[in-house]
Amino acid sequence: MPLLSIEEITKEYDGIRALDRVSLKVKRGSIKGLIGPNGAGKSTLFHLISGVEKPGSGKIYFREIDITSMESHEISALGIGRTFQTLQVWGNMTVVENIMAGMNRRLKGSLLSYGLWLPWIRRSEKEALKEAKEILDSLGLLGKWESIASQLPYGKQKLLELGRTLAMKPELLLLDEPASGLTLTEMRQLSERILQIRQEGVTIFIVEHHMGMVMEIADEIAVLHNGELIAEGTPDAVRRNPQVIEAYLKGKKADA
């Protein structure tokens, strides 16, 4: 049984089909890549999975639970974490607070118990701080734990966003163009980190513009073009698929 299964999803914006009957499956423990030219509908698909937007028709199942019409925070509470294409780090908090806010769904207690600072709240806050520092340490950001998040360089902020998502201990991690804006070295580090996250048992679904990187790390790749799924399979098979080559060449020409 796949961890995530998308069935016949369709999404329209003012009559324009962003996604046309797309069906996809993500196996537990795998890294799945989603590629396609600009405007192919990759980000739309991610928004639908994470509940930011609702599909026109079709169903999405996560752990065999129908999440199609759930609220965004309920979906993330089930264990789907995501990063955003445009960086969404909370610039009004310190680095460590960003990570701790990521743990939100695991910290229990009502408003009242936090206000009264009951003993178990004190304990859980202390543990959260300790764990957040461990996560920062593994990301190499521990030295900056007390700086304001918005003051970090771009690459570090991307890393922080990833760390925040990891802090919620997701089962499925949706990465929306994690390599955009990174330098080559940063990109290589990111690939290693993604492989390492998979080692820890997290399933990863990744949208990426940077073909080389996805081809390298993904077990399986799906290709979207004009809202339709045109190919799916191992990186090698996809690379040789004539439809994919054509779509990308057209895309390249249009860009130029």
């Binding site: 994470s50 509940g51 930011v52 609220e71 965004s72 925070h73 993330s76 509470a77 974490g81 995501r82 955003f84 969404q88 780090v89 909370w90 610039g91 009004n92 908090m93 310190t94 460590v96 607070e97 701790m100 806010a101 990521g102 939100n104 769904r105 910290l107 207690g109 408003l111 936090y114 206000g115 009264l116 600072w117 709240i121 806050e125 959260a128 007390e146 304001i148 925040r164 998502t165 802090a167 919620m168």
Partner: protein, 358 residues
């Protein structure tokens, strides 16, 4: 020659930075959010609050500080909603009014003693805030501001029109002094300790919220709701919770207010009060909890001092507010604007520069 002037420049710059540095010692810095734990500084503030009315022992001062404390409770609740969650409410005076009227009605008509009425005020304000907040908080930005504004106005109309219950425009008189277990707070000094005691309790409560999961969730909602819900924060719920909490604070403040004034009438809870509280929060500084208290003390005093100048008071008030916002754009609870400091330096140097000395 060139080197010498450069040296002079530097010395002067350091000189201008001295007041900034002094201020930063006493004022909490909003940009260092990790400094949220209780500090020794807080003990100093606590001592100052306890000793102040004994040092300045005239009743006018006590009365003013009672008012400032009540406004500070209001501003504290609003600052959680505005400064932390990043939402706008222009109907906060209505919850203050609900608290005041609850106490007024319960004590004068139903012979409640003041303490249960005090608690009931918080509950009634919170319950109304819950039912108002559920639909209203789906709105954002200006729309939320307008909806809350509308709520405030509707509240005033209801109070004015339901004369049987609230006494209409005349209001309710003869609300007893606040008393607990037979101890009556019948002097301004006693009321000072009462209001500031309540304020300190609520301040500690708020600070505990702000330095924990709740505060982080609020700041996350303020910065990006999409990102907040992507880590499982229930955005509508946390907004509602903090809105209701702010209303409960306002209800408590309103209850104290009606006991201190011994009257409740609709004029006290008009839009003017809302604007005053919002000014306290903004002038005091958003996103820190000392700010609203500082803002409340400052504006209460300012209005009192300016009332001596009668018809000139409002223009002077306006000018002072503008100046404060220029010099302390992040609020008086924070630092002086660095750019303004340099501007002063620029003016100071301008004369010399014109004379050709630089």
């Amino acid at each position: 020659m060139v080197d010498k002037t450069k040296k002079e420049f530097r010395k002067r710059d350091i000189f201008y930075l001295v007041p900034l540095w002094l201020l930063s010692l006493i004022a909490p810095d909003p940009y260092l959010y990790h400094k949220k734990e209780f500090k020794k500084k807080d003990l100093f503030y606590l001592g100052a609050i306890c000793l102040a009315p004994l040092i300045w022992s005239d009743t006018h001062f006590h009365h003013l500080m009672v008012l400032a404390g009540i406004y500070a409770i209001l501003a504290l609740g609003l600052s959680l909603f505005m400064g932390y969650a990043g939402q706008i409410s222009l109907g906060h005076a209505a919850f203050f009014g609900i608290g005041a009227y609850t106490t007024a009605i319960l004590t004068t008509r139903y012979a409640f003693s003041t303490f249960p009425a005090f608690l009931a005020s918080a509950v009634s304000a919170a319950v109304i805030a819950y039912f108002i907040g559920r639909p209203i908080l789906k709105l954002k930005g200006y729309f939320l501001a307008l909806a809350t504004l509308g709520f405030g106005e509707i509240f005033l109309v209801i109070i004015r029109e339901s004369t049987d219950l609230t006494g209409g425009v005349i209001g309710i008189f003869g609300i007893p002094w606040f008393s607990v277990m037979g101890f009556s707070f019948d002097t301004y000094l006693k009321q000072y300790y009462l209001t500031w005691g309540v304020l300190i309790g609520l301040f500690i409560f708020s600070k505990n919220l702000v330095r924990s999961k709740v505060g982080r969730a609020l700041l996350a909602v303020a910065a990006s709701e999409d990102a907040a819900s992507s880590v499982g924060i229930n955005v509508p719920r946390i907004k509602l919770e903090v809105f209701v909490l702010g209303a409960a604070f306002a209800g408590l403040a309103g209850s104290l207010f009606s006991c201190v004034m011994s009257t409740a009438n609709p004029e006290a809870f008009s839009l003017g009060l809302t604007v005053l509280i919002v000014m306290m929060v903004i002038l005091g500084g958003m996103g820190n909890l000392y700010g609203p208290i500082a803002g409340a003390i400052l504006l209460t005093w300012l209005t009192d001092i300016l009332s001596r100048y009668q018809e000139y008071s409002l223009p002077i008030y306006g000018v002072i507010l503008i100046l404060l916002l220029i010099f302390f754009p992040d609020g008086i609870g924070t630092r002086l604007n660095v750019r303004v400091i340099y501007l002063i330096g620029y003016w100071a140097k301008k004369k010399k520069r014109d004379e050709g000395k630089l």
